[in-house]
Symmetry: C2
Subunit: 370 residues, 2 copies
């Protein structure tokens, strides 16, 4: 697995269950998967030679992030590496313009958008579609990074508009959101697909703060989200976990936001909440093994991310106190605290989403010293 963050850490835990040899390609020996005991090799995501060396001999190569540039992915494939997902599918998670254009072309509903190579094009788009508008960096943005809301024509910031001769930004309509959903599915190379129950996420500054299942939307809408995620995974030939984030607008539209082709934060609750976790199913999918049941084991589930406000908060020191919330399942990733850094999460099962959320939040608050 290329990458050794918390996703690789939790995938390692699943790999131990199945006695699968999962080596991780880490940036540093302090990475969460390395401290969890996954065998590791060191390579930076943009270091072609190091990546080729680190993945030599692996029957299958998968990812815990989207940071390996497309040209390196293609060279890895040319060198015989079995990438799952492959470079073609990964492009949908790496390049927002590519994803928007291709998915729109295939009939998936996406927000109105346009590539922009300068401020005047942003103004034109805003004048046509109304202000504010949203600028999104074409690649590299996540957890709120690379997203800028622009209120009026006079407020367009000065950006590096072009990269390697291509527009580096997209402009999109600003949506009034009723809810945000995520639909996580797993797909194997032989085409088997399983879907997890749709989750409703709550984002603050572009970072998921918490999520609940069932989502507080009509079952038909959740069903539509699942259908969309399954269709999309098939369309792009995804392998492993494919997590689709969706917008529900106040005017009732369900739109594709973005997708990830790896275990995803919106699937972490599956560890406790589902018969088979997303980490187990990611491994099973990339190895082309039968996928596990995704049924919920509780009427409702909530997950609260543990995001440190600054370096002075030490969730590990607060752990014993947090465990007094006995129905909460705490996961710490072995990461140091930094402003806005996801260092763990708390899951809770309960009879209702509100009850589950209250329990998970109680433990998360104690971890954060609140």
């Amino acid at each position: 697995m290329v990458g050794a963050g918390q996703l690789a850490r939790m995938t390692h835990q699943a790999a131990v269950d199945l006695d699968v040899e999962l080596a991780v390609v880490a940036g540093s020996t302090g990475d969460p998967a390395v401290s969890a005991g996954a065998p590791h090799r060191l390579a930076r995501p943009a270091d072609r030679d190091a990546l080729l060396a680190a993945t030599a001999g692996a029957p299958v190569v998968t990812f815990d992030h989207e940071l390996v540039p497309g040209w390196i992915l293609r060279e890895m494939e040319a060198a015989g590496r079995m990438l799952r997902p492959g470079s073609g599918a990964l492009a949908f998670a790496q390049d927002k313009l590519h994803a928007r254009s291709e998915l729109a072309g295939a009939g998936f509903p996406v927000p109105a958008h346009r590539p922009v190579a300068g401020a005047p094009q942003v103004v034109t788009f805003g004048d046509e579609h109304g202000w504010p508008v949203v600028l999104k960096s074409r690649s590299g943005g996540y957890d709120g990074r690379g997203v800028i809301v622009v209120g009026a024509a006079g407020e367009v910031p000065d950006l590096a508009w072009v990269e390697a001769g291509e527009p580096a930004w997209l402009v999109e309509e600003h949506l009034e959101l009723a809810a945000e959903l995520a639909a996580v599915v797993a797909r194997s190379p032989s085409g088997e697909v399983v879907s997890y129950p749709v989750v409703e996420t709550t984002q603050v500054d572009g970072i998921c703060r918490h999520l609940v299942v069932p989502a507080g939307v009509a079952a038909s809408l959740a069903g539509e989200a699942t259908t969309m995620a399954v269709g999309l995974a098939e369309r792009i030939g995804a392998t492993g976990i494919c997590a689709l984030e969706l917008f529900v607008t106040t005017d009732g539209r369900l739109l594709v936001n973005e997708l990830a082709l790896r275990p995803h934060n919106s699937g972490h609750a599956t560890i406790e909440a589902c018969v088979t976790s997303q980490f187990h199913n990611h491994l099973r999918a990339v190895l082309d093994w039968p996928l596990g049941a995704t049924d919920l084991v509780a009427p409702a589930v909530a997950l609260v991310n543990v995001i440190t406000p600054d370096a002075d908060v030490d969730p590990a020191a607060n752990l014993p106190a947090a465990l007094a919330v006995r129905a909460a399942a705490v996961h710490l990733y072995g990461k140091g605290s930094r402003p806005g850094r996801k260092v763990g999460h708390v899951t809770s099962l309960a009879a209702t989403p509100a009850e589950a959320l209250a329990t998970a939040r109680a433990a998360a608050d104690i971890l954060l010293g609140r």
Copy 2:
């Protein structure tokens, strides 16, 4: 954790969730917890000096087996090691005579028994209590080893009856069993105790083949088993998981069989079936942290042990086929096959014990190439 078998392996997985630094003391680098990535030090269970060196600096020392001799445990305590459980409690899991005598003295119901230092004493006991009788080695026996059923006075085998001047064997009444139960509890040094739902185990040749929850006995009897396990954990000052195995006789008696002071095979299903697994609660208990909720998340659970009949059966090779049983959760321990060796287990949640057992058994059978 002294020992690096499958118990330490699964405890390591739980330690990763809590970001607890769990180093294991392994006999070899091929041990299941080492291959799962737990940091390790090498020491044999009877090597006093190596154990003292391996545990130097650990704030707490716990165990995945009962193989460290009592005198070494006491020397470790004298040298300042914080053993949890301590040597006094561990003696109850190490010395069947000690456990039988002390527990009988404390009013716990145990089978009729007597230490024996020679064949004539076995014959006397058999003539008093009826034949057959059961010979049990005072220490070191598990999974059916060290247990001999003797049918008649003329069939008493030739044994090493005395060890270090003490009787090395117990003789016990042979019981007609209606069921076997296990009650798993966790106790912290500050006295908090939580109990898991009682399981009904099915043993063949002294090895647990499978278990189900709820146990197929009257709820009052299961309640009595739990009360007994809690009382016993308190009585002996257990720390961490305390697993009590009990006999239900055809004449309606509930008797203490034996106990383990570590995560136990009869608690493995708690990984999927309970809010907090026995491995998490073992860590929480030995660290004197609050214990987690033990509620079941399903109406019924079953676990089937994967026991290889011989070295030719390779469950890892059969894993992809077994995963086609989609509702089963497979755990492989990374151990090579040997006759009668437990190399993994399969858990399943369902509406009824029979349904759960059928699912778990289907996957286990495929793993074993049946």
